[in-house]
Subunit: 318 residues, 2 copies
């Protein structure tokens, strides 16, 4: 984990992925100005890493056509790590040219998903990651590169994904030179026992190169899985404001873990996130304004903070 | 814990509380025949303990006016422990007369909640529990009695509830003769750290008299809190089909933990519940039929089981 928890830093890093993972699945396109207002609100709530866009052909994903503009704006927010998804070297070149501080590359945990998704085998994707790292090393050594294993806990095409293969893939990605590698439950198939076991193995294999837990709430286990990942030693968590990014396979079900609820869980446990929950809930407003009629999820925004919960310290008094 | 996990028994006991906890909060009254059809479906799914009703004056709670009839019917379902809530000795007498196998008595963890809810101090409630136990000992020694501490993790009136007082209350209830005593997060204020710590203390204090974790999902932490309780050693879990029993303070928020999602979490982890998930999801039908237009929650019923999940063993293949 390149993030160093504790001390002046919060105990965990919450990496907001809504502006990328949430928006890319919607038919609706959020206007660039609305994205900027939303980013300002997320940053004001204390988020210090935001996945703001992906660099993919605008023809394939018109929601991300303004990626370079969004990155340039996000760079003006003090202390923010501007994260961009890139599926390949061409995307990485564009992201680095735009000024992204960090790149994230998804690499499928199953061969079937990899072929279906990017028409490359996993080995070919590892080679692509290596090319991205080499390009970064030469052209922009200050830019961080992470590569997370998607469908790490189960695949809608292949079904169960062998844990040995996931662990080996993380090791190969680190060997290819990424700064960190995490695990994504892209399909919402993970359970807490599996999360503890698999992240435990990854941490034993790649140590402090272990990156984020990216959990989905498709089957309701998102927060329990994040708790399990925290228990295993993970300190970086991806989530999306309002759970934006409903899973297309589960109508009515939130896809991504809801940032507000995740932050509430950690803060209530005394695990510092550095995030102001009230401002975070307030950041739902510019998101909704930019996406009229969108489905927004999350419990804490509905129920409010518990009586006696100290919003300043993020903890219940005694 | 009077429930003995493992061996021929499942690893955990899921105690379905929807027919009591879920129904009592609704303005709508489920017809007795519909309740019976629902109980049949719950039993067919493998549930072996169901809180079928409460024995309270029908004037105060018309939803439970048919309590004796429901208990008599539930007794015909083989292997089922028929659980009834009783707030006082009068209720206990009626429940025992009707043939309930087990009584559950809620005792408030905070003085303020106790006075507001039953107009008795906590000490007076402990005395009432003692009278119920004495009555049971004489008139129906085969009937089990549990007393769970409500608002154990926080109170909407008092705010934080001192953990020492909760642990002491459990000890007093065991001293008063109950078979087991658990903790209820009535207000949905618990967090996983607190759950592990407080249940850990209760288990150290009263050992195998530790009863159920009764968690609410008001702020989205229901399953994470159940995971934490399981980690602490709890083996009995209350939940409600479809999360029936929305919290009146949190519109749109599910109150009780959703039985289907809880069972999915445990089965996916390899923790045996003895429950058939497909039949459990099917039991939502008679519930909806008996409560037209009711809000039903739950993720697994929407998303379906993951590919490769073995419904017979309740586990993903490898």
């Amino acid at each position: 984990m390149r993030f160093s928890p504790g001390g002046a830093n919060p105990d965990v890093l919450i990496s907001e992925c809504g502006p990328r993972d949430g928006l890319q699945i919607l038919a609706q396109i959020m206007p660039t100005d609305a994205k900027k207002r939303w980013l300002v609100a997320l940053h004001a709530a204390g988020l210090r890493e935001i996945e703001v866009c992906s660099f993919v052909p605008a023809k394939l994903m018109p929601q991300m056509a303004d990626a370079a503009d969004v990155v340039a704006f996000a760079r003006t927010l003090p202390g923010l790590t501007v994260l961009a998804l890139v599926p390949n070297l061409r995307g990485a070149e564009a992201a680095i040219a735009a000024g992204a501080h960090k790149l994230t590359i998804p690499v499928s945990g199953s061969e079937e998903h990899s072929l279906a998704n990017v028409r490359k085998t996993r080995a070919e994707m590892v080679a692509e990651v290596r090319r991205i790292v080499e390009y970064r090393n030469v052209s922009a050594p200050h830019v961080a590169v992470e590569a997370n294993v998607s469908v790490a806990f189960g695949c809608t095409i292949a079904g169960p994904v062998p844990e040995d293969e996931v662990v080996r893939l993380c090791a190969e990605l680190v060997e290819a030179g990424v700064d960190d590698s995490g695990l994504s439950d892209t399909t919402g198939m993970a359970n807490p026992g599996q999360v503890r076991r698999l992240f435990g193995r990854v941490i034993r294999e790649i140590g402090d190169r272990t990156g984020a837990a990216h959990m989905h709430n498709t089957r309701g286990l998102g927060l329990a899985n994040n708790l399990a990942a925290y228990d295993a030693g993970v300190r970086i968590f991806d989530s999306s404001l309002g759970g934006l990014g409903g899973c297309p396979h589960a109508p009515g079900a939130s896809g991504n873990v809801v940032t507000e609820d995740l932050v509430f869980m950690f803060e209530a446990m005394g695990v510092r996130t550095g995030i102001d929950l009230e401002k975070l809930v307030a950041a739902r407003r510019p998101m909704r304004d930019g996406l009229p009629g969108v489905d927004v999820h999350g419990m804490i925004a509905e129920a409010g903070l518990p009586k006696g919960f100290n919003a300043a310290t993020g903890r219940a008094s005694p």
